[in-house]
Symmetry: C2
Subunit: 358 residues, 2 copies
């Protein structure tokens, strides 16, 4: 994360623009990181018209001092009590909070400990706080993609009959970590043969066999920013049915990417991929959304799913990942990351999603 006060100042301004209340309680750890640079856990960020206070427990006091500037750091023993005492001291009467980051149980505790203030859930547009990336963020995402793709390239020679899904996942993760990934974007999916018919399979002991589709969904995290990419390879020659299905998924993928630009709705992009597969009789095998935003979280706003009216803006980074899954047989998913621009988009992942035979 940048230690540049100007970046955080700009983010605080965006925060105040999106917020409907004079005082804010930020509990989503990723939002706290975005707004302050603090990378620890269990914190609370309290915001007023002209002040910010970061509340952390004893484990994180030293770390918070190192990572942040221009805000008060306070230690709490009990988070709810700590929040209550700061807002009381500052005379807050109306406090906006993130309805998806606060559990019902915590909401009740906060409500009871803040009798002098009313709590107001922030509207869903607050979830777009981090949706548009600045240049530095796009740079971190590019680096995460570079680290991940380099690792996959190194892995390619190991993908052959006899190797297990788990072995491939472990070796890919090791290469990403050694290449500079601070962590993995998520538990790597390596699904082969019939396992690839489970969109979110866990790698197992199955050994790669000739004729298998091998689906690898993987990503690296660099300075908090995630990459997310899926490739489906064929070990040996695909059957005619496999080849046709792959081309259809690729067609949906290319059509969706071709339609992305600022001003288009998320649902429209999903509809382009979905209706193409439906026309080809494959609609019922495409059992998930077309894509999602990626940044400090692996899944964040916007969501490119059926009916979503959110509008794409320049600077958003999203995945496009249509797939089809035939239970008991095999599955295909092709996923790339793109940067939304005014008149189109830039594919951030290395192009080349055509069918690769190993």
């Amino acid at each position: 994360m940048p230690h540049d006060p100007a970046v955080y100042k700009a983010r605080a301004e965006r925060l105040h623009k999106l917020a409907e209340a004079e005082h804010l309680l930020i509990l989503n750890e990723i939002n706290i990181r975005y707004l302050t640079g603090f990378t620890g856990g269990d914190g609370a960020l309290l915001v007023g018209p002209d002040w910010m206070a970061l509340l952390v427990d004893g484990r994180y006091i030293t770390q918070a001092g190192i990572e942040t500037t221009n805000l008060e750091i306070r230690e709490f023993k009990n988070r709810t009590d700590g929040i209550s005492s700061v807002f009381q001291e500052k005379g807050a009467r109306l406090v906006g909070f993130e309805p998806s980051a606060v559990s019902y149980g915590e909401y009740i505790r906060l409500r009871d400990s803040l009798p002098q203030a009313s709590l107001q859930p922030l509207s869903s547009r607050f979830e777009f706080l981090r949706a548009v990336k600045d240049d530095q963020e796009v740079g971190e995402i590019r680096e995460a993609i570079r680290v991940a793709e380099k690792a996959l390239t190194d892995l390619m020679s190991l993908i052959k009959p006899g190797v297990t899904e788990t072995e491939l996942a472990i070796e890919l993760e090791y290469r990403m970590r050694r290449g500079g990934a601070g962590k993995l974007s998520f538990d790597t999916i390596v699904a082969t043969g019939p396992d690839a018919a489970l969109p979110h399979a866990t790698p197992g002991r199955r050994r790669v066999a000739a004729g298998d589709f091998v689906m690898i969904d993987y990503g690296a995290v660099v300075n908090g920013y995630h990459s997310d990419e899926t490739r489906t390879f064929c070990v040996g020659s695909p059957s005619e049915k496999q080849r046709e299905a792959y081309q259809l998924v690729l067609g949906a993928h290319d059509r969706a990417i071709g339609a992305i630009r600022a001003g288009v709705s998320c649902g429209e992009i999903d509809g382009i991929a979905r209706s193409f597969l439906e026309e080809k009789g494959m609609g019922r095998y495409f059992s998930h959304g077309t894509g999602h935003g990626v940044g400090l979280e692996i899944h964040e706003s916007p969501r490119l799913s059926a009916g979503k009216s959110d509008i794409l803006e320049a600077g958003m980074v999203v995945t496009i990942e249509p797939g089809v899954y035939f239970p008991g047989e095999w599955g295909i998913r092709i996923e790339d990351m793109v940067l939304v621009g005014k008149d189109g988009c830039e594919v951030l992942t290395v192009p080349g999603a055509g069918l690769v035979e190993l």
Copy 2:
């Protein structure tokens, strides 16, 4: 996870005993896994007096069918709508839910979509659903510990001046994964020298130097069950101050473990470790709780913190992990996992927390 219907039947009986409502909505993914065997995400488990329904989205339909028995599986497009329609169909009037697993936003959506039923937060004793482990669970935890400790043993020869924290973390993680860990319990902490003064440090580029304390907090996951252990080594000979502090932390650790048995409160165990360090003038450097339950989650009930009145029961598995942290200098934490018994406890991690000089 076991595919043994008797195990799930016993868990369902415990569920009904803990619940205060005839109908239950379980959204915590770990509880869903515990009660059904389903390891996918984004599901909802709906429970009635004599039925269970697992709601999953299209990505997980095939997987849910493979992993579960004796329950209805239903696909949802929108989770809230799916939940609403099942409870409506079943005529539910009072639905208990987990207040810490449901966000405020989701609570409001559920409340509005279930006009015929009232939602009732389950009390905090529900959080003890998974606290007492059965023999099979203890077996999985033992295996997770074995995998992790084998990896640390293999790593020992690499811990020497010049190696970076990140390199050690990556090599330890790789060894755990190759040794059988399905994933890591958490992002491995390797903190050396002054970095070890941050209880939850992120491994960085710092190189190990002679005289450093090297704190390694790490764990492996096997079949969903976590291990959690911390060792602090000294590279070369410790200073007198380092040696004394280590012995004091070890004293707190040993005294807490010596006091563990069914019937003792969690706060009492914390107090034993804490008061020992306070007597020795180290209380203010011990900035976190003494331990926590471990199982399908890395941190779960019970919590061994100041003032906690929860009573330890035979079959609970908890950590004991006192530590002291001197900002800018170094830190020490010693953490083991124990199985609570009627008259004492069994240390599950390999004993030998005495100071090791490398």
